[in-house]
């Protein structure tokens, strides 16, 4: 309990706090930061043992993970079996395996909700203070009700827009200033100006995802859920979503793309890559693939401001199952994969943001597109703390799905926005109640 309260209270703007405080006692500086755990794990203890790690990949991170595993195996003289699953089937597969008494040791997840009861408390292995090595924002998501450490945040992502610089230049529209973010009105106006001047089919696109739409909600000062409560401010949400709905009605934001994918997630990255849209709201994970696939000049742009600035956070976690036959090794592996050196290599290769306080302070050197990553890092400082709490809430993913359904109804013309949002608020309340029981 106390730990949880502490971390919540301690939530200064995530990165600012990290910069300033860097948690007393937490290691700073470079090099080997492997903390002596409470039950100091001697690599020799594990010699010859085997560990299974269930993983999903976004592409560039895979090789980095394999390299780190090779290091770990050499150092500890163990075998790590890396199993890469398609993201869409990860939860299904792990559920089945848990129920068959055949859990993997370590798993990479985007949220803990479905597995909370099955996760190993890492604190006894890694120490009560271990968590202070990480930024307080992401730590909220991994802290159990009784202060357990249920997972380690292994990378951080931030939602934010990209712009097609070529199209902006062609239209003679000024590029946004990362230091002084544009407003929503300025952004949509610029996007529509570019569309008008260059004749692209769309002005603005975003992924079909409740998580991405939460960015807009957060910028207008409301969250689907926070602190275990339904917290949608219907008026604010209406203000936030009206521009999106209007743009889709005019098809300046791709309406077909939105309706055509049903309840599935759909990324609009192909639309951006095809130069069909000047502004695309997604997140930093796109940087690596745009660097490789885009045949035009592009850049990360600052998140637009409304009542708030900044983006909406996400990220991945590494967790061990309490059913693991070798929890100590699992904990040692998680720790190794998230020490300063490992995490730097991992996030640099995959264009993720670091979760470690020391890396956030010293900065990560990216091999490519450093300037764009800096835009995201700058936005991270502006991101309100409450977004971390919202994203970490057990009811978030269910609420995000309901949000998409509600928007679908409006976009399809089956409902109007206020009605849909009122319904959504009710659904979120029911969901929170269901998860509490």
């Amino acid at each position: 309990m106390t730990r949880r309260k502490l971390t919540i209270l301690g939530l200064g703007a995530a990165a600012v706090l990290a910069l300033a405080a860097c948690a007393p006692g937490a290691p700073s500086g470079e090099g080997d930061t492997t903390q002596p755990p409470v039950e100091s794990a001697d690599p020799a203890d594990f010699a010859g043992e085997t560990l299974s790690y269930v993983y999903f990949t976004d592409g560039p991170d895979e090789q980095a993970t394999r390299d780190l595993i090779a290091q770990f195996e050499a150092e500890y003289d163990v075998t790590v079996e890396l199993e890469i699953l398609p993201y869409a089937d990860l939860v299904t597969s792990v559920q089945a395996r848990l129920s068959g008494g055949n859990a993997p040791d370590v798993v990479r997840l985007t949220g803990l909700t479905d597995f909370r009861a099955d996760l190993l408390d890492l604190a006894p292995y890694l120490g009560e203070d271990y968590v202070e090595e990480f930024l307080p924002g992401p730590v909220q998501a991994v802290t159990g009700d009784d202060g357990e450490l249920l997972a380690v945040p292994s990378d951080l992502t931030l939602n934010g827009p990209f712009i097609n610089v070529d199209l902006f230049n062609e239209a003679g529209v000024e590029l946004p200033d990362p230091e002084d973010p544009w407003t929503w009105e300025e952004m949509t106006a610029a996007a529509q100006e570019v569309q008008a001047a260059t004749g692209t089919p769309y002005a603005f696109a975003m992924d079909k995802s409740g998580h991405r739409v939460s960015t807009v909600l957060a910028q207008y000062g409301t969250q689907l859920v926070s602190d275990g409560e339904a917290s949608l401010d219907v008026a604010a949400a209406e203000e936030a979503l009206t521009p999106l709905i209007d743009m889709m009605a005019a098809d300046t934001m791709p309406r077909d793309f939105w309706l055509g994918s049903g309840s599935r997630y759909a990324g609009a990255n192909e639309i951006f890559l095809a130069q069909d849209v000047p502004v695309y709201l997604s997140g930093n994970w796109q940087v690596a693939q745009f660097a490789q696939a885009a045949e035009f000049e592009w850049a990360a742009a600052p998140n637009p401001c409304a009542t708030e600035c900044g983006g909406f956070p996400g990220g991945k976690f590494m967790a061990a199952f309490s059913a693991s036959e070798n929890p100590a090794l699992a904990a040692a592996f998680i720790e190794f994969m998230n020490n300063t050196e490992s995490q730097e290599a991992f996030v640099a290769a995959s264009s993720f943001l670091p979760t470690r306080a020391d890396l956030a302070e010293d900065g990560v050197t990216y091999p490519d597109r450093q300037a764009d990553m800096d835009v995201f890092l700058a936005d991270l400082v502006r991101t309100p703390d409450v977004t971390f709490a919202a994203n970490a809430d057990p009811a978030f993913s269910g609420s995000a799905t309901a949000l998409i359904t509600a928007m679908d109804e409006v976009v399809a013309g089956q409902s109007d926005l206020p009605t849909a949002l009122t319904g959504l608020q009710g659904e979120i309340e029911a969901l929170v109640a269901e998860l509490d029981s």
Binding site: A117, L259, G260, S263
Partner: protein
């Protein structure tokens, strides 16, 4: 039910192997059928029936992960039957299954008869019609999603000269349902054609000679000879397509994701999403499975008995 003899296309009245022999069957013969079904039934029992019973049991509990269970009795059923979304899903499923079954029966019969009549190139056509059956449903959905895109999709590109270049196939509810049905038929009909071809193969050609001697035209031969004799195979197609229609999921999931706004969400997707997508409602999903199972089972029995009765006539 009935003796096997009734289901055969042999002239009625032939002796069945059982019946008259029953009194003096040796032990070996009496045991034989049981030994024949045993291996199959062991695997069935272990990997399908037992888990299905288990699933029924789970439908009486609430569980957020399939591991920790709270007894709720019939609460899941009450909840599902009062869920508006469930009834919408049921409606979609019925629409889809009905159209799917009718179209499959019609198209498969027509193509099988045409194929059977075709001389040169018959095996080429047969191979081509079968191709979609070879594809993974997931891939079929992905590919058709791409073909049916409004902007730049192949279908609309082809339709442009005819003024249909801006059709929102996957965006408007009715069109999306039509798309799903068409794709479902596209990928499955080859299967049914093959079954019907095997059936046509078994019809004695001399019957047609006789019919022609009697002056029967093509249409008459089809309606009074081919179709009645094809009935056992048609029954197989009816039963299987009904089942496939009610179970459709994978390709729809990648084609429309059940959208727009749930217009093509069918029952299996509803069950799947409750069972495996956060928030997980495993007991509710199991209750949905039980309801699906009971429905399809009853339908199959109805199909079966109607098919049988017409056969006997």
């Amino acid at each position: 039910m009935t003796t096997p003899a009734q289901a055969t296309t042999r002239p009625a009245g032939a002796p069945t192997p059982a019946g008259p022999r029953r009194r003096r069957v040796p032990l070996g013969l009496r045991m034989a059928p049981y030994l024949f079904v045993l291996p199959n039934m062991i695997i069935f029992g272990l990997f399908t029936i037992w888990p299905a019973i288990n699933g029924f049991n789970i439908s009486l509990y609430e569980s957020s992960n399939g591991r920790n269970f709270d007894w709720v009795g019939l609460d899941n059923y009450r909840r599902i039957l009062t869920d508006d979304e469930f009834w919408e899903v049921v409606r979609n499923t019925v629409v889809f299954a009905l159209a799917f079954v009718l179209l499959c029966l019609l198209i498969a019969t027509a193509l099988a008869v045409l194929l059977q009549a075709q001389g040169r190139g018959k095996s080429f056509f047969r191979a081509v019609f079968f191709l979609p059956v070879l594809l993974s449903p997931v891939v079929v959905g992905l590919v058709w999603n791409w073909l049916l895109e409004r902007r730049g999709g192949l279908v609309n590109t082809i339709l442009t000269p005819f003024g249909g270049g801006d059709t929102g196939w996957l965006v408007e509810s009715n069109l999306a349902m039509i798309s799903v049905i068409v794709v479902g038929v596209w990928m499955n009909v080859g299967f049914y054609i093959l079954i019907l071809l095997a059936g046509l193969q078994g019809i004695d050609p001399s019957l047609y000679e006789a019919a022609r001697m009697d002056g029967a035209g093509a249409w008459q031969q089809l309606t009074s000879l081919t179709l009645p004799l094809l009935q056992p195979s048609l029954l197989v197609v009816l039963v299987l397509s009904t089942i496939h229609g009610f179970q459709a999921f994978d390709f729809i999931y990648t084609l429309t994701g059940g959208g727009p706004v749930g217009a093509t969400t069918l029952i299996v997707q509803y069950i799947y999403e409750n069972g495996f997508v956060s928030p997980i409602r495993y007991g509710l999903a199991s209750a949905g499975s039980v309801l699906l199972f009971v429905t399809v089972f009853c339908l199959t029995l109805v199909n079966w008995f109607i098919g049988r009765r017409r056969e006997a006539v």
